[in-house]
Amino acid sequence: MTDLTSLTLAGARERLRKKDITALELADAHIAAVEGARALNAYVLETPDQAREMAKASDAKLAAGEGRPLEGIPLGIKDLFATKGVRTTACSKILGDFVPTYESTITAQLWRDGAVMLGKLNNDEFAMGSSNETSHFGPVSSPWRRKGANTPLVPGGSSGGSASAVAAHLCLGATATDTGGSIRQPAAFTGTVGIKPTYGRCSRWGVVAFASSLDQAGPIARDVRDAAILMRAMSGYDPKDSTSADVPVPDFEAALGQSVKGMKIGIPKEYRLDGIAPEIDTLWQQGAAWLKAAGAELVEVSLPHTKYALPAYYIVAPAEASSNLARYDGVRYGLRIPGGDVSDMYQRTRADGFGAEVRRRVMIGTYVLSAGYYDAYYLQAQKVRTLIKRDFERCFAQGINAILTPATPSAAFGIGEKGGADPIEMYLNDVFTVTVNMAGLPGIAVPAGLSAEGLPLGLQLIGRPFDEETLFSLGAVIEDAAGHFTPEKWW
């Protein structure tokens, strides 16, 4: 049965259509894999009964020749997505056993297209983290290990459960969200493909908010084709989200195999950071060479405000978060720790319900929005954001089709290795990815090779607004050249 979990989403789709396998068989194989991989802690809630029910319904549809685009495909859902009747916590204690009475737009679209839910995936609490170590349910282990070592490694974050589950074949694809790199960084750490779509491409309705102006959902998948298939189902205008874009959803899968000949690929000089790991630099050059070999033209470009992106991000994102998380107050749902009066109840509930990283960001956000500090911090950061956006616009106006950068400054690190003393150490993981969120652009992370220690490394491609198709075309070129990376099973 295990071979069924090693299929790609596209491969499974083919075999289901041909009736080589049934959706129930596929679901059962994945349910077994999930149960056998609890050591990874990728799932915070398994929904096998629901999966089997949905799979049976898919089999009926397939038998009737009415198969929908994702018919019978078992997926994992990041716990940030509200799922009707299924516990949704954002991996925070403060949401307790919260069970939504509503379904997020994105997951509703996945079920509309016939997908099967295996369960809810672990993530950093409220998506705040880069290693999946801030989850109330504990850290997720990457299925990857350094060559000859047993040190448990992080899968990246915040979508660590999604990345780990996809890499370990615990689902055929997963939903994820990306506020500063939370899809692309874990994808890069686990040898999977993750795309953060253009801001406004996928509805935020029903997704627990971290930083509204930066949050964007997207898929993490086994390969570029699977990511394209999932993204089509997840995209689309939603009148319930005022920031949703009313633009047509193309057939992203059709972009694979499109020629990239003549495309201009920007190589931003500001991303050549001091002290960057030599193997990251080598990987970057290798990626550029592959694209060149496919007929693309490499152009050095300048994104002069890049160095301000990370500090500005760590003002804007906490500011929005401090306000977005105010609703978790113990009054209507989730955790409540009684107190002497209402203020006391708020303080006890929020002190106990939020983890250290969330508390830190709420405090930073509250501070930067305070009277007397707003202009110096929040307003200034918004100006920086505008400049970053302009850097990209200028670049694209020169005819650049996409920009190639490393996805992360290093390979995955060990659980507990980083950020213990200095949170900035952890924040630096997002150095290549936050600019994309600040500018609202699409970005894809594609595996491009292994580190000397045998860990996956990824490259990032940044595209023009609503031009994810180009990213899929270019991503496929890198993927074809680099090949696929699968961890050896140890769990």
Binding site: A209, D241, T243, L325, A326
Partner: protein, 493 residues
Amino acid sequence: MTAQDTAPSAPGKLIRGATGNWEIVIGLEVHAQVTSQSKLFSGASTEFGGAPNDHVSLVDAAMPGMLPVINAECVRQAVRTGLGLKAQINLRSVFDRKNYFYPDLPQGYQISQYKSPIVGEGIVAVDLPNGERIDVGIERLHLEQDAGKSTHDQHPTMTQVDLNRSGVALMEIVSKPDLRSADQAKAYVAKLRSILRYLGTCDGDMEKGSLRADVNVSVRRPGEPFGTRCEIKNVNSIRFIGQAVDTEARRQVDILEDGGTIVQETRLFDPDRGETRSMRSKEEAHDYRYFPDPDLLPLEFDQAFVDELKAKLPELPDAKKARLMHDCGLSAYDADVLVAERETADFFEAVAHGRDAKVAANWVLNELAGRLNKEGKDIGASPVSAAQLGTILDLIGEGVISGKIAKDLFEIVWSEGGDPRALVEARGMKQVTDLGAIEKVIDGIVAANPDKVAQAQAKPALIGWFVGQVMKSSGGKANPQAVNDLLKRKLGL
């Protein structure tokens, strides 16, 4: 934003202290609930009443992942109101979050407009009871969400929260500090309420909390700069606004005359005890950490949208008053009273249509208003319709009934209803204009009272006695003019 001193000191408005005269300076922030089917950012109903938490959507309860979507009708209402206040309409405005914790504020922030409101500066002309007219500047109007309601007296230790109002659209209408007395403040709110009700953008029902005011009061010596102000929160009747102003001004004068200083703070008006009480000082004021709501794009529309709304605005009180004075010849006072409530004006216009406007005004303002007042009824609930009253006036005009009979007829229609014309017929209330019949009555009375005839011939004013006798024996139905004419002839006067 610095407040400009726009209204000159008027000696008559000053209040007297122990050490001289003081001038009151008032600015108002009026919160008007927008008339709309659903809330500002959710589809939940705005209906008043209902069981607690009956009208609450997932958005209103701030469930995880819920997002606001602007209600276009509320935007239209705000623009219409701005037009009614002769104000600048901003084609681009921004919604901000005002952050604070309170159990009846589920999101932990109120969505409001801080730096860029939908409506900018405007003006309201206010007629004062003494006939004076002042212009009150409008600083801005912005849209914001109402909060829910906390109840503290239903449980020994718990507060109960009703979110029915949570998210209902409010317009905050901020005046400039142009008002100089309690009477001016009251007249301004009354006028504002009248405009809102004409526009149909707020029902103005202060008892239900649809209209409430925060009153900013300061005092100063005439000619001096503005004093330190105190804000009196949530005053919910026009009468209380007047009382709150006077009470607060007196409190401040007393402090200043005792050598003290005014502390800027938020206060509450207690109408039962006739005092204002400190709620929180400036130091305790919240830091609301306003910032643009990232869930909402800036609110943008074009001039054509505004023009279309403008073209469909109803006639507003000022225009209507001018028309009634000019076209109908009504006095300023009568016109003022008639236009204050749109329903009264509509009623009057229906009665006056095709009839003598002054007579119509007289009946509406005296007979009808008096009767309504006596029974505590609104004109909307008047048992006598405009059509019925119009028919009564027609019957007078046609000479079918006298003015006196008309009042009796009005009473019958009030209590029993029915078509006045049919009632006159059925109950024999028609005026007798048959000269033969009247003559017969007169002849009888003249013959029976030779002494009175002699007296009347000596002193013509005594004809009144004869008129009374004739009217009495005709049951009041004889045409008074005809009786007079005939009597004069018969008596040889």
